[in-house]
Amino acid sequence: MTLSIDKPTSKKPPRLRDKTITLAHGSGGRAMQDLIEALFVQAFQEGPANALEDQARIPLDELTAQGDRLAFTTDSFVVDPIIFPGGDIGTLAVNGTVNDLAVSGAIPRYLTCAMILEEGLPMQTLRQVVASMAAAAKQAGVAIVTGDTKVVPRGGADKIFINTAGIGVMRTGVTPAAVHIQPGDVVLVNGPIGNHGATIMVARGELSLETDLQSDCQPLNGLVDAIVSVCPEVKAMRDATRGGLATVLNEFAESARVGIRLIEDQIPVDDAVKGLCELLGLDPLYLANEGKLVVVVPPEQAEEVLAAMRSHPSGTQSQIIGQVTEGQWVSLKTAFGTERVIDRLVDDQLPRIC
């Protein structure tokens, strides 16, 4: 059973007396309904008023007023640990999907929230994650309009998994897509890379490392607005999540059948991320980000886009990091003046030590 989260109810929400999540909270029975009403409905009540149905219902004319196409996306979030410096799995779950919509040039509008909870999860943890989701949704200006709750037996999942799907409206005339990329186009990024990946690696605790790093988790739709308003012709945008900057650029090159040449000196990387990479033999180009955007624009608009990005709070450290070329490789002009290929990795980077 799915409950639309935005139940227009006058009655006061039930009190949640349970200290931990049990299988009852996923049973479809009253314990589940109480959880949904006491927690999710309260937190996410910003949405439009729908009845207590198994789906949200959205007038199409409200969407057609904003653009001509729907963007539709989904991501599951399984981050470990679920709470880390700079955010938690809830922040990620909202921003991740907001960003996947935003980079299509869409105005993100509505999100779903489907939780898989492990039996025994402290209720307090769930409260915190749900509060983060509500705050992130508010910040990004989206509504969480429908959801689902499943509970699996202890050991059947790792604390919390969240799936968010999202829809947004694509502005008429704005159609960023990797296939539009052409030689000569300019590649930008909105700030230092690798902070999220580095933060999570450290937060797991297995390496016994300490840093002051924080995840860069943030919504990018505001920044995209700024980009699109000066450059509706933007060729391509993508958030550089799993696989990092290198992976996104390889996807771009492959889709558009072009090469991309990066300038190492211009790619912003924070010192502690550099330190972690040196210590563990990693490459920051492949570290995950959760608030970093790669943008490709026609060369004549690069400076204007850069200026627009830098004047947005999410892009103050934006940089032009390279240019699209003929050819088929993503390559890097190293700080040493040489050139090397930046290929896709097969897999996650593992520490290289001995």
Binding site: E210, T211, D271, G275, G281, I353
Partner: protein, 87 residues
């Protein structure tokens, strides 16, 4: 082989076990400093030293003078090159 990276000793966390905190460009970790402690270099004196960090151990102390000699030589060779380069 054998990835090693310079780091600076911030403090001694356990003198008996020869454990110290090392900083590598903003990343901190506890390392064993047994290999750099001797009569001339008692544990406490190591704070501030630059060491080569490998798999959780400070393997050797970095000699700042030797480093400078190398850099000076390189600078000199680069200068000679500059002066020879076509104008």
């Amino acid at each position: 082989m054998c990835l090693g990276i310079p780091g600076q000793i911030l403090d001694i966390t356990d003198a008996a076990q020869k454990l110290a905190t090392v900083d590598v460009s903003g990343v901190r970790r506890q390392v064993n400093i047994a290999c750099i402690v001797d009569e001339e270099h008692p544990v406490e004196s190591c704070v501030g030293d630059w060491v080569l960090v490998h798999v959780g151990f400070a393997m050797n102390r970095i000699d700042p003078e030797e480093a400078q000699i190398t850099l000076d030589l390189l600078a000199e060779m680069a200068e000679v090159h500059e002066s020879l380069a076509p104008i």
